[in-house]
Amino acid sequence: MIAINYQRKELSSKLLKIGVLLLALGFIIALLGYVIDHERAAFNGIILLMFVMSVGLGSLFLIGLEYLVGADWSVPFRRIMEILAIVVFAIPVFSLPLFANLHTLFHWTHIEDVMKDPILRNKMPYLNEMFFSIRSTAAFVLMFIFWWLLAGRSFGQDSTPTKNFRKITVRISALFMPIFAIVLTFMAVDWLMSLEPHWFSTIFGVYYFAGTFSVALAVVTLFAIYLNENGYLGEGIEGDHYYNFGALLFAFTNFWAYIAFSQFLLIWYANLPEETFWYLHRWEGSWAVISVGIIIIHFIVPYAVLLPQPAKSDPKRLKFIAWWLVFAHFYDLYWLVIPTYSHSGAVFGWMELYPVLIALGTILILFYFFAKNKNLLPIGDPKLPKGINFHL
């Protein structure tokens, strides 16, 4: 048994300052945006909502995954995921301005148009404002419940470990997995796919999940490396732990490409007009450049950077690629959402900055406040020494 060498260290207030700065700047831009062009601001609000959901829900998924597969190496980082998962509580806040603008965002809320359109009329039992709100509310409530069950319960273990904690949490994780899949799919279909209510793709939930996993993992990687480099995680965490982050990021870069290409290939091959128009919108004018860009940004660059074995355990390259994947997820959401707002070509202005600023600011501030007076390692977990002592 190796003793854990960990002294709690309060987070530097620099984190808070950067977070407040980002959030304040983003908030001003968002406010201006809603005043000047509320339609464009609302579409950017979807990017913000889905990014924060990716990080929050993705962190919960990573916690559940760790319990289910019984991973050792990630135990020292579980507390980071547990703290990060707190951003699920920001999701309803970011959805409020969107609920106020449902009519500008979603074509299917225009009842007179829907009644004229036989396809949309048949989709009405699902796509109506009442059921939409119920689905989102239910998803938010489920996220809160599972935040408590998977993350919230864990903090008390540091001082008073309870018997059977792991056994019970493994069962909760098993219950969480199908619920996670359903919640994530419904959210992806409701907030992203129904922007084009005529379009459908059965793989769309998985497509959003692929982005969710890689961005949640990238954010956890960033926190883990920065905290460890500044001595917040005690001693003993080094290249072999990082290697797992690198390998998983590499795997899910490939997974994203596989899913994205599967969706494209089937639609391209079948060539049915009710499916192809979604891609054709993304091939109009300057959107073609953005569409080609997503292959390079979300697949080729991370693939090439993470391919050599040393890259996966080198913190410098990992930090770079984790930031890159955060950017790639914003890019992906931009590519999914904005073509509905601007058909003829890509638009990018100061207003597109606010989802990035608010999302990053919120994550930093929530992390800072919630990590206060808490250990950054789950020191009550009997598996922690094994986790810290992990070697390839």
């Binding site: 290939l265 091959y269 060539n271 050599p308 390839l392």
Partner: protein, 380 residues
């Protein structure tokens, strides 16, 4: 004993922790050529041994890239240039359709190539002898002990010093391993009769089995059930689609070949003759192109020389000769019109031929006519 060549010195340890600390001491004493044998992989071992990255990754990269480029180039050449075919309305070089195949070939070549490189370059196949085989040391480390072997190739190696060193770091059962002289002097003789007989027998068995499977078994039940499907064969009479008795579907009226516009002079041969001028000049290239297309599309009925003496003679109403006074006096536009619209039993060829190809055929037909009815000045 004296004439044997020394391979190395081995020592045994009891626990994984002991072997890790032993490896660290061996490494810090400056030994480079040593190896560790354990019954199962021990976490942290590569780091303790300070192993670099394996060169195998580069083999995988090279083989993988070779596979990717080869597959992509082959498909591009075949589908785009060698035998262009329209498949479900896609371009001749449909890149998205190539990606799955490219991916498969990349993975195939990378994995097979890496394994073969490992076997032949790193494990020195077909050499299958190793001095550590059949030693007590190997028996122990493949059941429940952890062993280390310092090789004689190491620059710092000297038999007595290494034995002392291993004793000092706590190794048990220290053994000195020698090369087996028989194995060292062994030469592979590929003309040995046993080997040749084995090759002959396996060649006979494989080719015999292939012959039986492909020529007999595939035509025996149940494998031949597939031939008796409820399907319509091409060019056989069938009522499946309706009254016209064709088993193959004809293109809808007005279908044109790729990159071709709708024909403007439909039903107006005289106007076509007056307005249309052949844009091609009779160069060798154009005439060859016309000949190729004529031989494919026209010769089955009209014959290779346009006399109407073709291989389908008798099965359809025979077409009139292309050398008649009438056709020789037609303008180019009229021949173009007949190819495009059809005439009597002749169907339209506008879905198969582009305008340029039709004009090339017109050029070639003119050349055929000229060959049969040469003018005076052609003889000069």
């Amino acid at each position: 004993m004296e004439n044997k060549i020394i391979y190395g010195v081995t020592g045994i340890f009891d626990t994984p922790d002991e072997i890790i600390s032993a490896v660290k001491q061996v490494k810090s004493s400056g030994f480079e050529r040593f190896d560790v044998h354990t019954p199962y992989p021990i976490h942290g071992m590569p780091k303790a041994m300070k192993l670099g990255t394996s060169p195998l990754g580069y083999f995988a990269l090279v083989f993988g890239l070779t596979g990717a480029f080869a597959a992509f180039a082959l498909m591009t050449y075949l589908m785009g240039y060698n035998y262009p075919l329209i498949i479900s309305g896609k371009p001749f070089i449909p890149i998205p359709a190539f990606i799955p195949v490219t991916f498969e070939v990349t993975v195939l070549l990378a994995s097979v190539g890496t394994v073969l490189a490992m076997l032949f370059l790193l494990f020195k196949f077909p050499n299958n002898s190793h001095p550590l085989h059949d030693t007590n040391y190997m028996k122990k480390v493949s059941s429940n002990k952890f062993g280390i072997c310092i090789e004689a190739k190491d620059e710092k190696f000297s038999k007595m010093e290494v034995i002392e060193f291993l004793k000092k770091i706590g190794a048990k059962d220290i053994e000195v391993i020698y090369y087996d002289n028989d194995a060292l002097n062994f030469k592979i003789n590929i003309f040995e009769w046993k080997f040749v007989a084995f090759l002959v027998v396996s060649a006979l068995v494989v080719s015999g089995a292939t012959y039986i499977v492909l020529n007999k078994l595939m035509f025996a039940p149940p494998f031949n059930w597939m031939m008796g499907q409820h399907r319509i064969d091409a060019q056989v009479e069938s009522k499946f689609f309706g009254k016209d008795n064709f088993s193959m579907r004809v293109a809808p009226a007005g279908t044109v070949a790729r990159n071709t516009n709708q024909f403007k002079f439909s039903g107006q041969p005289e106007l076509a003759e007056a307005k249309l001028i052949n844009p091609l000049i009779p160069t060798e290239e154009n005439l060859r192109k016309g000949m190729k297309k004529y031989d494919i599309y026209c010769s089955p009925c009209h014959g290779y020389h346009g006399i109407g003496d073709a291989r389908l003679n008798g099965q359809f109403p025979n077409p009139p000769s292309l050398h008649s006074e009438k056709v020789r006096n037609w303008g180019d536009g009229h021949i173009f019109y007949v190819i495009t619209e059809g005439q009597n039993s002749m169907p339209s060829y506008s879905s198969q031929l582009t305008n340029e190809e039709k004009w090339a055929i017109v050029l070639y037909v003119r050349a055929l006519q000229r060959a049969m009815n040469a003018k005076e000045e052609d003889l000069k």
